[in-house]
Subunit: 187 residues, 2 copies
Amino acid sequence: MKHPMGIKKTGGHFIQYGNRGMTLESDLSSSNLYYLENDIAVIYKKPTPLSICKVDYPSRMEAVIKEAYFKIPSTTDYNGIYKGKYIDFEAKETKGQSFPLANIHKHQIVHLQRVEKHGGISFLIVRFTKEDQTFLLETKFLTKFLKEETRKSIPLSYFQQYGVSIPSRYNPIVPYLKIVDQIYFGG
Amino acid sequence: MKHPMGIKKTGGHFIQYGNRGMTLESDLSSSNLYYLENDIAVIYKKPTPLSICKVDYPSRMEAVIKEAYFKIPSTTDYNGIYKGKYIDFEAKETKGQSFPLANIHKHQIVHLQRVEKHGGISFLIVRFTKEDQTFLLETKFLTKFLKEETRKSIPLSYFQQYGVSIPSRYNPIVPYLKIVDQIYFGG
């Protein structure tokens, strides 16, 4: 049950959710806008890669794409600059108690590893929707899991052990750069 | 007239163009692939931003976009990481003797300026197709032109004065990171 003012009643307690959206994507979108407008970071979500097959031009000014297909992305969804450093990450939600590796393409993992190798900051943001917990997991711990484990999904407990929980705030809603500060800038 | 082996006859001279493509975009695409495969930099072109209105699902596996529109991009086309630094640029071709500012959106200019302010490397790559000359122009010189001039296009002479010419090579075809080395890394 969601209160029109954004207050959710859970077990007798009122929790203030602010402008919290329905999805991690919309929460990150508003968080990145907050970071941009407050001149903290310049981070954008990349457009969805499509291969365009057919375009109509009903007028000189407007083009309508009539046939296009989703392409497998070569990179992650989010990148930009923070404190002079290149930052790059993929964000995913999961409903279960673990994060299925099938949710992230192999070349996306390779991309995160390349960024790390080139001196950038790269990580995963994973939200466990039922637990309402969001974690930042550094690429090195993603790599560690892939090397050491044969399981095809990363359990919540792994995120609890190696990731850092991102608290939910009013503004920004997903203050993931606080965690980046802690891990990469000693802040 | 184009020779099948990539050799073009011009005024009695044979010029070796290697795998040189037809457009700056294809040349940059192969250059970025060269940089990626040789582990020099991780730089990608962003997908074209579209707003998707209608999607059909003819089968469980395949989605076909039946209606979509081009969106005005908020950022530039290219970004990535080089020598640990965030790098961001827009690339354009022009047929005339000057580069029309109408070819670049205002928020793309603001984006380049933001990146510069946050300590990243940002610039324009402009190819004058008739002259077959490609220039790298740092954002600070783009800003200088916008401040000091009222003209709505940047003349070739301005690129010759404030930009750096990017030579055409066999591999990579557009070795723009050589110029980045010169300007930003003292190499």
